[in-house]
C-alpha cells in the first residue's frame, strides 16, 4: 500500500498548522492534569472513587494503550500537558513567534544522557511502585506533580523538551510502540531539505520554533523520537513536511541497533507479563509483596521483577540467537532482532489492559459525578454500582490480541532476521513461548 498523505487535505493541513486548535486541546488537558493532581492530594483516599486514579489509570490508560498508541503512535505526546508550563517559560511566550535570545540556561543535554536509558529507569521506578501508585490517590497526585515540576526544571536548564525526550517514563514506551503505528510525519523530498538554508525546522524561524524534540525532520526515518508537535509543519518554508497514513509497523522493516531501545522492548514485555500475574492473577502473596513497599517481600519482588526483565527474558533470547551462524556481531544481532518483540509487547499491554479496564470502567461514571469522593452527584451517576463490562467477550478479545500480536511479531522477526542475515526461527519460538505464558496468565 502506498502512503496516503493526510496533509494534502487543506482542512487537516490548516488545522495542524494553526496553533489555536492545539492550544485549545492543551489547555483542556492541562486543566484536567492539574485537577488530577489536586484530586489526588485533597480528594478521598479511596482510589476507586477518586478522579486521579479513575481518570488517569483507567480512562486515560485505556484510551492511550487501546487506541492512541496502536493507531496514532505519539499522538498523545502531541497533546500532553506535562511539558507546557516549562516550554512556555523556556520560550517566554505561549504563542508569540520566538525571539533569538535564549531564555534561561538553554544548555545542551550531555551526550551520555542522549539516549532512553533514563526513560527506562524512570519507567522501572514507577513500575516497581505501581501497586501503590495505581491505587493510592495521594501517590498518584505526587507523581503527576513531580513530572510537571521535573519538566519545568529541565526546561529551565536544557534546551528544547529535554524531559519528553530523555526522562518521561511514558514517552519512552510510546516512542517504542509508535514505530508500529500506521501514521508518520516525514519529509516529502529529501533534496529540498539538503538545499534548504538555515534549516528552520530544526533551528526555528519567525514562523515557529525549532524542533522541540531535537530532531532534524530531514533525517527522520522512524517515529520513535518525533513527538508530532507539528512545529516543523509551521516552520518549513518549502511545504516539505507531510503527515502520512501508512502500513502498520513500517518502521520495523529497518530495525534499530541501539541497546537502550532493545532493553525498552524487554522492559515493556516483561512488565506486562508481571502485571498480568501480580495484579490480575489469583495469587494474594504476590499482591502483598508488590503492595507492601519496603517490606522484605517487596525487596524479593523487586529482585524478581528486575531479574525477569534484565536477566531471564534477554538471557533466554540471547541463548536463542547466540548459536546462529552470522557475520553480524552478537550485540548488533541482539538489538536488531529484539525489534520483533515490539508488536508482541504492544499486544501484551492491550490484552492486559482489556481485562483491567473492562473490569473497572464502571468506576468512571461514579467518579465523573463525584471526582473528589466528597458526596457530590454532579451528573446523577455518583451511585453507579461497580459492574464488570463485556466479560463474555473478554477472553476471545484477549486471545485475538495475543495471537494477532504473535503473528505480527513473527512477521517482524522474519524481516529483522533478513536484515542481519540469520534464521528467524529462534525468535519465533521465543515469541510463541511468551505468548503461551501470557495466555495462561490471563485466561
Amino acid at each position: 500500500m502506498a502512503k496516503i498523505e493526510l496533509t494534502r487535505s487543506p482542512f487537516i493541513k490548516n488545522t495542524l498548522k494553526s496553533r489555536y486548535p492545539q492550544l485549545a486541546v492543551f489547555i483542556v488537558m492541562l486543566v484536567g492534569y492539574i485537577f488530577a493532581i489536586l484530586a489526588g492530594l485533597i480528594g478521598t483516599p479511596v482510589g476507586s472513587h477518586n478522579f486521579s486514579i479513575v481518570f488517569v489509570w483507567i480512562a486515560w490508560w485505556a484510551i492511550l494503550i487501546l487506541v492512541v498508541v496502536p493507531f496514532f503512535g505519539r499522538g498523545w505526546c502531541a497533546m500532553c500537558p506535562i511539558p507546557l508550563p516549562g516550554e512556555w517559560l523556556q520560550r517566554g511566550a505561549v504563542l508569540a513567534p520566538p525571539d533569538k535570545k535564549p531564555k534561561w540556561l538553554n544548555l545542551r543535554v550531555p551526550k551520555m544522557f542522549r539516549n532512553i536509558w533514563l526513560q527506562n529507569i524512570s519507567f522501572l521506578l514507577l513500575a516497581l511502585f505501581s501497586s501503590v501508585l495505581l491505587t493510592t490517590p495521594s501517590i498518584t497526585g505526587i507523581v503527576l506533580a513531580a513530572m510537571l515540576f521535573a519538566a519545568i526544571g529541565l526546561s529551565m536548564i536544557f534546551e528544547r523538551r529535554a524531559f519528553c525526550r530523555y526522562l518521561c517514563p511514558v514517552g519512552g514506551f510510546i516512542g517504542l510502540y509508535s514505530q508500529a503505528a500506521p501514521i508518520e510525519l516525514r519529509i516529502k523530498d529529501k533534496q529540498v531539505c539538503v538545499t534548504c538554508e538555515g534549516k528552520p525546522c530544526y533551528n526555528g524561524s519567525s514562523a515557529g520554533y525549532g524542533c522541540p524534540w531535537d530532531v532534524f525532520p530531514g533525517g527522520l526515518t522512524k517515529n520513535t523520537y518525533c513527538g508530532l508537535c507539528m512545529e516543523c509543519i509551521r516552520t518549513c518554508p518549502h511545504d516539505n513536511i507531510a503527515v502520512n497514513l501508512r502500513l502498520f509497523s513500517a518502521d520495523l522493516a529497518k530495525p534499530s541497533t541501539r541497546m537502550d531501545e532493545a532493553f525498552k522492548a524487554f522492559i515493556m514485555l516483561g512488565s506486562a507479563m508481571i502485571y498480568a500475574g501480580v495484579l490480575l492473577g489469583p495469587w494474594g502473596m504476590l499482591k502483598d509483596a508488590a503492595y507492601n513497599v519496603g517490606s522484605n517481600a517487596w525487596f524479593v519482588y523487586v529482585f524478581i521483577f528486575l531479574a525477569i526483565i534484565f536477566g531471564i527474558l534477554p538471557g533466554i533470547f540471547t541463548l536463542g540467537i547466540v548459536g546462529i551462524k552470522s557475520s553480524t556481531p552478537l550485540k548488533h544481532r541482539f538489538a536488531s532482532l529484539s525489534s520483533a518483540l515490539i508488536p508482541l509487547g504492544l499486544m501484551f499491554w492491550v490484552a492486559f489492559s482489556l481485562s483491567f479496564v473492562l473490569t473497572n470502567a464502571s468506576y468512571i461514571l461514579a467518579a465523573l459525578s463525584d471526582p473528589l469522593g466528597l458526596g457530590w452527584n454532579l451528573f446523577g451517576t455518583a451511585n453507579t454500582t461497580w459492574q464488570p463490562m463485556l466479560t463474555p467477550i473478554l477472553a476471545p478479545a484477549q486471545t485475538l490480541a495475543l495471537v494477532g500480536g504473535l503473528i505480527w511479531s513473527a512477521r517482524t522477526a522474519q524481516k529483522a532476521a533478513n536484515e542481519v542475515k540469520v534464521s528467524s526461527i529462534p525468535m519465533v519460538v521465543y515469541c510463541f513461548v511468551l505468548t503461551s505464558v501470557m495466555l495462561w496468565l490471563l485466561l
Binding site: 482510589g47 491505587t135 492473577g281 494474594g284 477472553a395 495475543l402 503473528i407 533478513n418
Partner: protein
C-alpha cells in the same frame, strides 16, 4: 502452494481449533462446598476447580473488613461482614475459567482482589494456545527461502 489457498486452509484450521465441539467428560454433577477466607487483598483458597453442573457453595469468611465476591459471567455475588460468614450457592453451568472479584471497596488494592474458578476444563486456554501454534505454523510456512 498457492498463498491464498494456504491462507484459506489456515483460517479454516483456526476456526476448527477455536470452535470445534469437544467431548464432555461424563462426570456426575455433585455438591461442592468451599470455605474461603477473605482478607485485604486476597482470597484463600483463590483458585477453585469444579466440574460442569456442580452445585457450588462458597462460605465466605471475612477476616478483616467487609469483603464481597462477584463471579464474572455468572453475575452472582455475596458480601461478608468482618468476622462473619456469608454463603453463595450457584450451579456451575457455564464451562471455562472465570475471575471472581471483591465487589465491596475494601482498601487500596481492592480492584486487584481477584480469584479464579475453573468449571470443567479451561478449554479456551488450550484452544488459544492451539491457535497460537497454528498461527506460528502459518507464518513459518509463508517464509520465503533466501535467494
Amino acid at each position: 502452494m498457492n498463498p491464498r489457498l494456504s491462507l484459506l486452509l489456515f483460517v479454516m484450521a483456526g476456526l476448527v481449533v477455536a470452535f470445534a465441539p469437544l467431548p464432555d467428560p461424563a462426570i456426575a454433577p455433585q455438591a461442592r462446598t468451599f470455605r474461603m477466607d477473605a482478607r485485604q487483598f486476597a482470597y484463600s483458597p483463590s483458585d477453585l476447580q469444579v466440574n460442569l453442573g456442580d452445585t457450588v457453595t462458597i462460605q465466605l469468611l471475612s477476616t478483616d473488613v467487609v469483603h464481597g465476591l462477584y463471579v464474572d459471567d455468572y453475575d452472582v455475588s455475596v458480601e461478608a461482614d468482618p468476622g462473619q460468614t456469608a454463603t453463595l450457592t450457584f450451579t456451575a453451568d457455564k464451562p471455562g475459567s472465570f475471575r471472581f472479584h471483591c465487589n465491596v471497596t475494601c482498601g487500596a488494592m481492592h480492584p486487584f482482589m481477584i480469584g479464579k474458578i475453573t468449571v470443567g476444563t479451561n478449554n479456551w486456554l488450550f484452544r488459544s494456545i492451539g491457535l497460537a501454534a497454528l498461527a506460528i505454523a502459518g507464518v513459518m510456512v509463508s517464509i520465503k527461502p533466501k535467494a
